[in-house]
């Protein structure tokens, strides 16, 4: 297994075309095939572009070492229509290739690049010959791309067989389309293209989930029993996945009338004893905020996935941002402890989701998994998730048939830790009263000043141990040389491009470091403070306009950033622009 790209040991593809041409599907199937051939892959989609209404593209990158994001340019452009060629030719690496339908005609001067190879392939003719649907042109293009990089066509066919298992006609037709594309490119173009992805004989047994997939799997492994949500990009795929796998997951999956209903359902389900989760984006979260406070006041554990996209309001529904960090931390009236955790890749999506369920239940607080479109919808290869790594810890949940303790069961019993043992409503000999009003230990409404203070203090005592525990959960992760001259500080999905930027800089002879803040609430001030100690320059990296993590760090540690790299056009950072910023300040 060896990968040879044009700029480094990775090969990048852009698959582009109209909405409805199966762009993301094609790109991710190619990614899966390359992964089975032993390559690490990363794939991200972009839809629709603001340049033209219905243009979609998928960026795929493969390498023989782990990769964390897309590259700055594409070695191979698979253009399913003429528009794609014209829109993306500028992004093709010098010496790269463009595969397109040989029926496409360009007028003189229309193509600007003379330093890339043109590889017309009879996409339409092959589909017509096979009497297939027009969407199959992308399959022919995949076959041609595989031939150009010297990959194994049988692995690609295997992916098609598995994806369309049981639909023999579709599988056979697509196999023939791939073969035709493959054979044509091999015969006509031979080894003329310099990029190589020579597969290994054995599949490494990896998986290629998106962040959404990883969170869904994490919730299943965590024993989530009820998922209620209202569709909203970019979090809807969690609803789709869980709805399709409800029996295996052992989950009741509900599409509600709105996000208000979804979150209030979680509170009801969790009060009754279930682990429950929802997933939404900023607009939906706005509607959930009142019930978030209900969960906090009633000390009912719930887990919420907040998939950020650019706002305010509808913003850019299918693009990415990190603009809701301070909102997530402060949402809802009054003061209460909560968990906000921001995973940075698919592995963290899985394990941190399991962690979120445990923390929510052990401290009886709401937990927010803060992600974004780029993380949730991008594919990344990784080893199979380790189901046993995190485990299930339900904390002080006492499951008994009958309450036999001396004295009445008190839902909000004042304890040293602040955590009051929960029992299931329905337990004989006890009644469980949860109350959105300030309440007594039993749960009755009270305005008695002493009781009010005692109950508020009880809720906040949980924060002390929660904070301590978060500090032990690797809430801050550092990558790269510890003594590097420049340290990038970021969170969430910026992790991928930042790690790629480190690699790029190393090749150019500059060592840099990346510090990733994973827990946002309770804020791991100690760990962050430690990571920011020492000399060198610090660059804050965030996909928002107002440097929200920077504010949090300053608030909690007093540290101020002199350099920032902020991006708020809805697009993910490219490694090259981060590397350039580092070189600027170094």
């Amino acid at each position: 297994m060896k990968s040879i790209g044009i700029r480094d040991n990775s090969v990048s593809f852009i698959v582009g075309g109209q909405a409805g041409q199966g762009i993301t599907r094609s790109g991710s199937l190619l990614g899966k095939a390359l992964m089975r051939g032993g390559f690490h892959v990363f794939g991200a989609n972009d839809y629709p572009s603001v340049i033209r209404g219905s243009h979609n593209f998928y960026v795929l990158r493969a390498s023989d070492e782990e990769i964390h994001s897309q590259a700055d340019t594409a070695d191979l452009l698979l253009a399913l229509n003429k528009e794609t060629v014209l829109l993306h030719e500028g992004e093709v690496t010098e010496g790269g290739a463009i595969i397109y339908d040989d029926r496409t005609e360009f007028v003189v001067g229309e193509l600007k690049r003379d330093d890339v190879g043109l590889y017309p392939v009879p996409l339409s003719s092959v589909v017509e010959e096979l009497e297939g649907a027009p969407i199959m042109r992308n399959t022919v293009a995949l076959g041609a791309a595989i031939a150009l990089v010297g990959f194994d066509v049988e692995i690609m066919k295997g992916v098609i067989s598995d994806t369309f298992a049981g639909r023999t006609g579709i599988v056979e037709l697509n196999h023939r389309a791939i073969e035709k594309g493959f054979e044509y490119a091999r015969e006509v173009y031979g080894d003329s293209f310099s990029c190589r992805l020579k597969p290994s004989d054995e599949s490494p047994g990896w998986i290629m989930p998106t962040g959404n997939d990883a969170i869904a799997l994490g919730s299943i492994q965590a024993g989530c029993r009820l998922f209620a949500a209202y569709p909203m990009t970019p979090a809807s795929p969690i609803l789709h996945y869980l709805a399709a796998h409800d029996v295996e997951a052992g989950m009741a999956v509900i599409q509600t009338e709105n996000e208000i209903a979804a979150f209030n359902m979680l509170v009801g389900a969790s009060y009754a004893g279930l682990r429950a989760m929802t997933a939404t984006s900023g607009g939906g979260f706005c509607l959930m905020v009142e019930a978030l406070g209900l969960a906090a006041m009633t000390e009912t554990p719930v887990v919420l996935v907040l998939g950020q996209r650019p706002g305010p309001s509808t913003g850019m529904a299918t693009y990415s941002a990190q603009g809701d960090l301070l909102f997530a931390i402060h949402a809802s009236q009054g003061e209460f402890p909560r968990v906000v955790v921001a995973p940075g890749d698919v592995d963290e999506c899985f394990y941190r989701t399991m962690e979120a369920f445990n923390l929510a239940e052990r401290y009886q607080v709401p937990a927010i998994i803060l992600a974004d479109k780029y993380l949730l919808e991008s594919h990344k290869s990784t080893g199979p998730f380790d189901a046993g790594r995190v485990g299930i810890d339900r904390g002080d949940l006492v499951v008994v048939d009958e309450w036999t303790d001396a004295g009445e069961y008190l839902r909000y019993r004042i304890t040293e830790s602040g955590v009051s043992p929960r029992i299931l409503p329905g337990t004989r000999g006890a009644t469980v009263l949860a109350n959105s009003n300030e309440h007594t230990e039993y749960g009755y409404t009270t305005v008695d000043p002493e009781k009010v203070v005692a109950m508020g203090d009880k809720r906040f005592r949980k924060l002390d141990s929660l904070r301590e525990e978060v500090e032990s959960l690797e809430p801050v992760r550092a990558y790269g040389a510890p003594d590097a001259a420049v340290t990038l500080v970021g969170w969430g999905s910026t992790k991928g491009p930042a790690l790629e930027a480190l690699k790029m800089l190393r090749r150019r002879g500059t060592e840099a470091r990346f510090v990733q803040v994973v827990y946002m609430e309770p804020f791991p001030a100690e760990a962050v403070g430690e990571a920011l100690r020492g000399g060198g320059r610090f660059v804050l990296l965030e996909a928002n306009r107002t440097a929200q993590l920077g504010k949090l760090i300053r608030l909690n540690t007093g540290f101020t950033f002199e350099h920032v790299a902020l991006k708020y056009d809805g697009r993910p950072f490219n490694p090259g622009e981060i590397a350039a910023r580092v070189e600027e300040v170094a």
């Binding site: 024993g223 009801g268 199979p384 299931l424």
Partner: protein
């Protein structure tokens, strides 16, 4: 089997003397006792308003939620543990203003829960503003020239949403209300009981006298509760005669029958740690 003493709480009742809520609370306690339910088998979910204090005054499991959100919480509690008897309480502001959207969705889901709406046709706890059931022209602090809007008719709304049990009770008729609540609780599916509740503090129009002169019992008037058309005809009566009793009743599959995972028993009784995602991960390999 709970007794009246079992259902009592030590909390001092702060409803106004003569409030219709006393009648509803007492009828509910009698219904629970007469149905032979234990207090730990029952969950009461209350919204915001005078009615919301119910969870302080009846010793069963309870959740006092936020304004208008009784139905989603109650639906999920029943789904989580269908062994529980789930009873939602709401006010007219709760149910027909801020939480109105949930009514039709609860009706079409048909969870096996009861929804008791304390309908006093006024906002009482917030000291007298118009309610969605206040009649047009009704003068309140927020409508000094009279309410601009037409009153919502909860019964026709519920019928239009195809709720499987639609009834109206009157807080001033304890015996009738008790029987109605028992029917609603034992009905398999979503049961709405809109209860006319005189507010002695703020509503000087819809008083005990107002209702006493107008209410009549559907079951004594030859009404057929299986006939949707008849139910509509009765539901629009208000001015001179106000029907109470069951307007409409139909048997439909309940919400939980849609969830294959519930065939293994109540969700809360299912183990959390017997999941194997290795098979699911193959899809991504």
């Amino acid at each position: 089997m709970a007794t009246m003493r079992d259902l009592a709480t030590p909390v001092e009742n702060t409803w106004c003397p003569g409030c219709g809520n006393f009648g509803i609370l007492m009828a509910m306690k009698r219904a629970i006792i007469q149905l032979g339910l234990e207090r730990e088998e029952v969950v009461a979910i209350t919204g915001i308003g005078c009615h919301g204090k119910v969870t302080n005054y009846i010793k069963v499991n309870g959740v006092h939620v936020i304004h208008g959100r009784v139905l989603p919480a109650a639906t999920a509690i029943k789904l989580a543990n269908h062994g529980l008897t789930v009873i939602g309480f709401a006010g007219d502001g709760d149910a027909y203003n801020i939480g109105m959207g949930h009514l039709s969705h609860a009706a079409r889901r048909n969870p096996d829960i009861t929804y008791v709406v304390h309908n006093n046709l006024i906002y009482a706890l917030t000291t007298g503003q118009t309610s969605p059931t206040s009649e047009r022209g009704f003068r309140t602090k927020s409508t000094p020239r009279g309410a601009f809007e037409l009153a919502i008719n909860p019964i026709t709304q519920a019928l239009a949403s195809e709720a499987s049990f639609v009834a109206r009770g009157y807080a001033g008729d304890m015996h009738h209300l008790t029987e109605l609540l028992k029917e609603a609780i034992t009905h398999r599916g979503f049961a709405l009981v809109d209860v006319l509740q005189p507010c002695v503090a703020w509503n000087r129009v819809n008083t005990y006298d107002f209702f006493r002169e107008r209410v009549y019992k559907l079951e004594e008037a030859g009404h057929d509760p299986t006939d949707l058309r008849q139910a509509y005809d009765r539901a629009v009566e208000w001015e001179d005669r106000i029907p109470i009793g069951v307007f409409y009743r139909v048997e439909r599959p309940t919400y939980r029958e849609n969830f294959p995972v519930l065939s293994r028993g109540p969700l809360v009784r299912q183990r959390l740690d017997d999941v194997d995602i290795s098979r699911l991960m193959k899809e991504f390999a």
